[in-house]
């Protein structure tokens, strides 16, 4: 066969070099400014092998969540973790030092000034994750996908590779306890799922966003804190799993990535989707609110946290449990409630 690629490849490469999505270019330049401020505490990235599955996360004063977080994602099949420690009172290094699959950076940049961590994400992902499937989650988010017990994470990635997809859509599902939020105390190293195992089975609303994507809101945070209008509730659509490419960038946390096709990973009806179980509403919630209001570094001057505080103040035994709550017993319960679908991956 005539080697067409010998002629076309350099031409195409030249064209590709020229084309960068303007938002990606902006995010990349922000990330480049942020990169020098990330100080490596433990850099083991030379241990990353070509097809390794990575995980990127960041946090502030959430050390109690770390042991179980590591255990959960190691069991899932993550080979290397990238952590960013943002001015924790007790440094994360106390727990993470010596772990052979963890690279840790620390930074004293403000969370709000770096687009809520997006700059750190783009900087580290662009440096270490190109060509890898990488999962970007917060420390209170746990990734689940259809047939999780029976099919491995590798099999999911192999299926996505086979379909030539480069991202995976998930819905952020807020979990809460049956009793009051304050009563759900999660001991260190224990699964929060035991203590907060309920979710809303309906009441999720999707609208068209301004960033060529669909924004989903709903769940207990709409029902309990924003019931008058859907516009103010936090977004629940996430694209945490991406096969990273030099020309990709996150824009608004993991809610929106660029180029925009990454956010449309679920648009054909037979595409599988997943979920992120979000364990915000446990006993540490009150501290988290106080912290967010003190540091004032969350979205829109931590307005969302002011609303939480107002509600929690009304009663010590404030609970999110209601008649549309359902207990999570496995990924099947999310599939049954139509919050997640295996699509054609059956």
């Amino acid at each position: 066969m005539f080697p067409f690629s010998k002629i076309s490849a350099p031409l195409l490469a030249k064209r590709r070099r020229k084309f960068w999505h303007p938002v990606v270019r902006e995010m990349k330049s922000r990330a480049a400014w942020s990169m020098p401020n990330l100080v490596p505490v433990q850099n083991l990235t030379h241990l990353i092998k070509p097809k390794d599955r990575l995980l990127m996360t960041m946090g502030r004063d959430e050390n109690a969540r770390l042991p179980y977080f590591l255990k959960y994602y190691r069991d899932l099949g993550i080979d290397h973790f990238l952590f960013v420690d943002n001015e924790s009172d007790t440094p994360m290094a106390e727990i993470l030092a010596g772990e052979k699959d963890v690279s840790l950076w620390t930074t004293n940049e403000s969370y709000a000034d770096t687009r809520f961590g997006v700059d750190w994400m783009n900087a580290l992902l662009g440096q270490y994750a190109v060509g890898h499937w990488v999962l970007t989650v917060d420390l209170d988010e746990f990734f689940v996908y259809p047939f999780m017990g029976q099919r491995s994470y590798q099999e999911l990635l192999a299926y996505l590779d086979d379909c030539e997809k480069s991202s995976f859509y998930t819905l952020l599902v807020d979990m809460y306890p049956k009793g009051s939020i304050a009563s759900a105390h999660v001991p260190v190293g224990e699964s929060p799922l035991k203590h907060a195992s309920y979710f809303d089975r309906m009441g999720y609303y999707a609208v068209k966003g301004g960033h060529e994507d669909t924004w989903t809101r709903g769940g207990p945070r709409l029902r309990a804190f924003n019931s008058e209008t859907h516009d103010a509730a936090p977004a629940l659509n996430k694209t945490p799993l991406i096969k990273w490419h030099q020309r990709f960038a996150y824009h608004l946390s993991t809610h929106a990535a660029y180029p925009a096709f990454l956010n449309h990973a679920h648009k054909r009806h037979h595409d599988p989707t997943g979920a992120l179980l979000h364990f915000k509403f446990v006993s540490s919630f009150r501290e988290k609110i106080d912290q967010a209001i003190k540091h004032n570094n969350h979205y829109d001057n931590s307005k969302e946290y002011q609303k939480y505080l107002a509600k929690l103040k009304t009663s010590e035994a404030y609970t999110l449990y209601s008649s549309l709550s359902e207990q999570y017993t496995g990924p099947e319960s999310l599939i049954k409630a139509n919050l997640m679908t295996p699509g054609a991956w059956k």
């Binding site: 379909c163 029902r223 019931s227």
Partner: protein, 518 residues
């Protein structure tokens, strides 16, 4: 009887070793074609299999296999030549890949081949009579030239096809061959394989022609065999269960398919995920689970049945949040539960209607959900859909979804009853008319005059004529009797729905063996 196996592989040496050890248990022979472009360490590991089992396994690595190109056929022909060198070639040759598994002991396969002698198990579909492909190029695969691969040069490939079409290029097959297509995987008698090898040697123009066709691995053997083997000796079915999904990918089996796989009557399956440990363990203890050797009819029927079920998964409509921009039409159309709408023209009779409805257990009172300023539903019903009285903006932004939630949140055993106060309430008439079982009732209250009635009717007529057609008019004092009648109807309707559901389920039985073992 001896069998020969050709395994085409490019990775997973440990899985290939397991497979080869299993296939050679009874003295049969395996030729592994390992891709030239694969990793060197993998090739060494595969060659180790041949050194461990020197008289039964042979490893060749001569061709770089590229999807859709001649190289895949060439690899098979080269492997067949290895068999041809043997003093005593096996009676049958089975072509498989490294991701395929045997499902039954080889003794059963041999028994099956002895009971059905003189047949070649290959799918041969004459494309002039019926189409084989699910979409995309069919006869064009043989008529046009394909100098580039679709995977690497998508746009150029499409452009070339367009040019061919425009210039009306039609290549003819050499020797007057008729294009036949079918799956790449087959089980052939050795005599047939020998004939194909001889044919390829005697007519070099045929391989040359196929080198520039598209996906020749799905047509070369099929076309040649249709030419040189009498039609009655071609079984037109495969001993391996496999399926290409509507998106053109091979269907993959995972651990959770273990039960389904166990019930399959076929001798092999394709393709099994390398991490599916339960399925891979399964080949180590292939017990003769079923004594019976499957009939050709059973193999054909089960394959069709399961393929239909797999394809149905691609047409599913799911309601995962994040799909639509507030549009819930498909879900409303699919909603099978009924919704009773009571149109009233005077809110005075509202408490009366509430007491009547609440007195009948089969109904769920939803109040006035469509008031323009607020959601006038009782507290428990509001809680069930996760809203408050002030959530009207959410309702108005997601009008169809709201209707869907109204019905879906009602307890299973009850039927929702909503009141629409005419003419100020403005529900999504279009959404309501999408519902299959909407029951509109116009309640003529005590204070009603003709003007009110005509205004109410004109509102419905202007917005939704379909609902107007169905609307029945009744007096207030007739409402209890009407609702009781409706409740009786629902009981019957529910029983009928359950029956219909069980009928639908029985069309796709879980156990294919149970369906067609007779």
């Amino acid at each position: 009887m001896k069998l020969g196996f050709i395994i085409l592989a490019h990775n997973q040496p440990s899985a290939i070793r397991r497979l080869a050890e299993n296939l050679t248990k009874e003295g049969d022979r395996v030729v592994i074609h390992f891709d030239v472009a694969a990793a060197k360490s993998d090739l060494l590991a595969v060659q180790q299999i041949a050194t461990d089992l020197p008289h039964q396994v042979q490893v060749i690595s001569k061709v770089k296999g590229v999807w859709g190109e001649w190289s895949l056929v060439e690899a098979v022909l080269l492997s067949l030549q290895e068999f041809a060198r043997l003093p005593e070639p096996p009676a049958y040759i089975h072509l498989m890949s490294g991701a395929d598994l045997p499902l039954r002991p080889l003794a059963q396969l041999k028994e099956f081949l002895l009971t059905n002698p003189g047949l070649d198990f290959i799918e041969c579909c004459d494309i002039s009579k019926q189409s084989w492909v699910k979409g995309g190029l069919s006869k064009e695969r043989f008529q046009y030239y394909f100098p580039v691969n679709f995977k690497t040069h998508r746009k150029l490939f499409d452009r070339l096809v367009r040019w061919h079409r425009k210039l009306k290029i039609r290549r003819r097959m050499p020797l007057g061959l008729k294009p036949n297509m079918g799956s790449q995987w087959w089980t052939l008698r050795w005599t047939t394989c020998k004939k194909v090898l001889d044919f390829s040697k005697a007519h070099p123009q045929v391989p040359r022609f196929f080198k520039s066709t598209w996906i020749p691995d799905e047509s070369y053997f099929q076309t040649v065999i249709a030419k040189i083997i009498p039609n009655r000796e071609i079984a037109n079915l495969q001993l391996m269960f496999h399926h290409l999904t509507p998106t053109g990918r091979p269907y993959t089996f995972y651990n959770d398919h273990a039960e389904m796989v166990r019930k399959l009557p076929h001798f092999f399956i394709r393709k099994v995920s390398p991490q599916a440990s339960i399925l891979w363990d399964h080949i180590c203890n292939l017990e003769p689970r079923r004594r019976r050797i499957p009939s050709l009819k059973l193999l054909r029927k089960t394959r069709q049945l399961i393929q239909n079920r797999i394809d149905a998964n691609h047409k599913l409509i799911t309601t995962v949040p994040g799909y639509h921009d507030g549009w819930y039409g498909p879900e409303l159309k699919a909603e099978k539960r009924p919704l009773v709408l009571l149109f009233i023209t005077d809110d005075i009779i509202l408490p009366q209607l509430e007491t009547i409805t609440r007195s009948i257990a089969a109904f769920c009172w939803l109040g006035k959900p469509f008031h323009p300023k607020y959601i006038g539903m009782p507290k428990d019903a509001l809680e069930r859909i996760g809203m408050t009285r002030e959530s009207a903006p959410i309702r108005d932004n997601f009008r169809q979804q709201f209707i869907h939630h109204l019905i879906a949140s009602t307890p299973e055993s009850q039927t929702p009853v909503a009141v629409l106060s005419m003419p100020e309430d403005q529900p999504d008439w279009y959404g309501l008319s999408l519902l299959e079982h909407v029951i509109p009732i116009l309640v003529i209250g005590a204070s009603l005059n003709n003007l009110h009635l005509s205004r109410a009717l004109s509102v419905i007529r202007n917005t939704s004529p379909r609902i107007l057609q169905k609307t029945v008019h009744i007096e207030l004092d007739q409402v209890p009797a009407a609702l009781i009648n409706l409740a009786e109807d629902f009981k019957l309707w529910q029983a009928r729905e359950i029956h219909a559901q069980s009928l639908r389920d029985s069309l796709l039985p879980e156990d294919p063996q149970a369906y067609s073992n007779t």
